[in-house]
């Protein structure tokens, strides 16, 4: 049990995604939440305290809200500067601490005005995770600085080593927790009847307008409880803007019920994203779920969508899409018909070969290092020296080089990779320029091989020596 717990949280894996989460989520928070709040700070600062209610964050740290007018420039400047440095990764951890504090103060301050912003709730928790989690400093100026001192290949240095994945797992647990809590809240305050479609239909029909805030009476409230007004107001509606499609759905009763069942089922089942092979089957529908709500009710929960997209296991998603597209675009070449000559010392070329071996299920491609006698035999020693030294594809005895070589390889791999042909809309000179730009820097960017790669017995027949 303990081992399973530790394996769930602390198994080693690629964690540089947290660096990408840092860049994207901090940038999003900076542009969409902090910057507007900073612009409005002078207005908030003169607002009477009676028109706000301290949030949990402000109450916990005893922070005043609205801020003192003399401090608005300091708070705003600190928030913007720490956000920029946290996004770029300069003094990353310290910047994240300061930015999380500023974000808590400003976003919490906005929520203290009466409307709890659930998008910022999630973003704030993500910032807290990033402050400590390993991997959050990937893709940062700090990593670039460390690379300048240590040298070596650039991209592995920026990406950082594999490590304990508890930060990624914590983000997944957070995300699944807020979904499951949403589902539980519906059952708690709406009962099982919430799924009958009446509640969703009520919102989709435009009853909860954004122009004024509808208050709602409780059912069966006695006169003693309703002493304020004789009605017994119980709750306010959550404002939403019902689109034309939403109103159409509301007018067709089975549809709100189906959507309610779908929403409730999705939220209560969101914990399934913690199972690795089901992760994408929850996260990608979550994006669709939010996009649909955004279309119907003008609540897109953009921050949640972003986080879902960032946590998707993209290699697995691409593999799944490739499997589907292979039925449309299967591999057409015969086994062994195409030979790929590659630079055996180059980390990028080696990774490309490993990927091609994985994708090439039919075995259409054979491989040989450009430094091997096989390359000389195939092209001739003079030709080999005169051609570009990264990847060459030989098809029907004709060598293809630069971007044509890569596109030919992708074409023969079939499936999703055939879509690479779209890049043929670019002029060949531009494609080749981009190819040459990367090829020229491939050792510096991707490094040379740290280990000797040996083909497995099954793969030996696909390598020419």
């Amino acid at each position: 049990m303990i081992r399973a717990w530790l394996r769930f949280w602390f198994a080693d894996g690629p964690i540089h995604v947290l660096g990408i989460v840092r860049v994207v989520m901090v940038l999003n928070a900076l542009l969409l939440q902090v910057w507007p709040a900073v612009r409005l700070l002078p207005f908030f600062a003169i607002r009477p305290t009676a028109l706000s209610h301290p949030t949990g964050f402000h109450a916990l740290f005893g922070l005043p809200w609205p801020p003192d007018p003399g401090w608005t420039m300091v708070i705003g400047g600190l928030a913007l500067i720490s956000g920029a440095t946290a996004c770029l990764g300069l003094a990353t951890r310290i910047s994240l601490v300061i930015f999380a504090g500023c974000f808590g103060y400003l976003a919490g301050g906005l929520s203290s005005l009466g409307v709890v912003d659930h998008a910022t709730v999630l973003t704030f928790h993500v910032l807290l995770v990033l402050i400590v989690a390993p991997g959050a400093t990937a893709w940062s100026l700090d990593a670039l600085w460390a690379w300048r001192r240590a040298r070596g290949p650039l991209l592995p240095a920026l990406r950082g080593p594999a490590g304990s994945r508890w930060g990624v797992q914590l983000l997944l647990v957070l995300l699944s927790a807020v979904y499951v809590l949403s589902g539980i809240a519906k059952l708690r305050w709406g009962g099982l009847g919430w799924a009958d479609g009446n509640t969703l239909g009520w919102y989709l029909s435009g009853q909860a307008t954004m122009e004024w805030v509808p208050m709602l009476a409780g059912h069966g409230v006695d006169a003693a409880t309703a002493w304020r007004d004789g009605i017994g107001l119980q709750d306010h509606a959550y404002s939403s803007h019902a689109s034309v499609i939403a109103r159409w759905i509301a007018a067709h009763p089975p549809l709100p019920m189906l959507l309610s069942l779908g929403a409730l089922g999705f939220e209560l089942g969101a914990w399934l994203m913690l199972i690795p092979r089901l992760r994408n089957w929850v996260l990608l529908p979550a994006v669709i779920f939010h996009a649909t709500i955004g279309q119907l009710m003008a609540h897109s929960f953009f921050d949640w969508q972003l986080l879902c997209l960032l946590l998707v296991d993209w290699p697995a998603a691409i593999r799944a899409l490739d499997m589907v597209l292979r039925r449309i675009w299967p591999q057409s070449a015969e086994p062994g018909q195409i030979t790929v000559l590659y630079d055996g010392l180059c980390g990028l070329c080696d990774a490309t070969v490993a990927w091609a071996l994985d994708v090439d299920r039919k075995g259409c491609l054979r491989f040989a290092a450009l430094q091997s006698p096989a390359a000389d035999r195939l092209l001739g020693p003079v030709e080999t020296r005169n051609l570009p030294d990264s990847i060459i594809v030989v098809r029907d005895g004709q060598p293809l080089v630069r971007s044509d070589a890569v596109l030919a390889m992708c074409r023969e791999l079939g499936g999703l990779w055939r879509l690479a042909a779209i890049s043929r809309v670019l002029p060949r000179r531009l494609r080749d320029y981009l190819y040459a730009w990367v090829a020229k820097r491939r050792y510096a960017l991707f490094g040379t091989l740290p280990t000797c790669r040996l083909p497995t017995p099954a793969q030996r027949g696909r390598f020419l020596v």
Partner: protein, 191 residues
């Protein structure tokens, strides 16, 4: 293709198989952080509390029936020598959702003792009146600061509650109370 360590490869790149678990220190800080982040969130969820940055995520959760009445708060102002006329504080830096949700949850008070956004348990008419007075005073200051026409001449402000049918028509109206600006007194007149 398999990864085989070169004879002279540094040990760090050789994958460890069935390595013993590292010491507890490796896990202490992450566990502490995990608990610090998750525990308040789960407590808020279970207890049904909505207070940024913790949330029970109760939005859209309350059951609604088709055709039910909605209620709308309205504010009216009366100058010393005039009649009550509707005012629109929302036009002066107060978003409707913020103004009225905050007012309802933290000033007016819900009949639900477990309202996630903030219940006021054991509320009394005296406490209600005190909250209303503080809120009206703050509102007057704000609207005067924002230059709302006539804000300096108000003698009384009135809080109304109107019922609105699903088609958007007002079906009834009742006065909740009147606030006198000079004395800062709120008179609760309803029900």
């Amino acid at each position: 293709m398999s990864d085989a360590p070169c004879p002279d490869a540094p040990l760090a790149i050789i994958p460890r198989v069935n390595a013993p678990l590292p010491s507890w220190r490796r896990y202490a800080l992450p566990h502490l952080w995990i608990v610090l982040i998750l525990a308040p969130l789960l407590v808020a969820g279970v207890a049904g509390i909505e207070r940024w940055p913790w949330s029970a995520c109760a939005m859209f959760a309350r059951y609604r029936q088709p055709g039910e009445l909605r209620w709308r708060f309205g504010l009216l102002a009366r100058p010393a020598d005039g009649e009550f006329a509707a005012m629109e504080p929302e036009r002066y830096g107060l978003r409707p959702a913020q103004l009225w949700r905050l007012f309802f949850v933290h000033v007016y008070g819900s009949t639900d003792p477990h309202l996630p956004q903030g219940a006021i348990p054991n509320d009394t008419p005296a406490a209600f009146t005190a909250r209303m007075q503080a809120w009206f005073a703050g509102l007057c200051i704000h609207l005067r600061q924002r230059g709302m026409p006539g804000a300096d001449t108000w003698a009384e402000l009135r809080l109304d509650l109107a019922s609105i049918d699903p088609a958007g028509a007002e079906t009834s109206r009742r006065i909740i109370g009147i606030y006198t600006t000079a004395s800062g007194i709120f008179r609760h007149t309803s029900p």
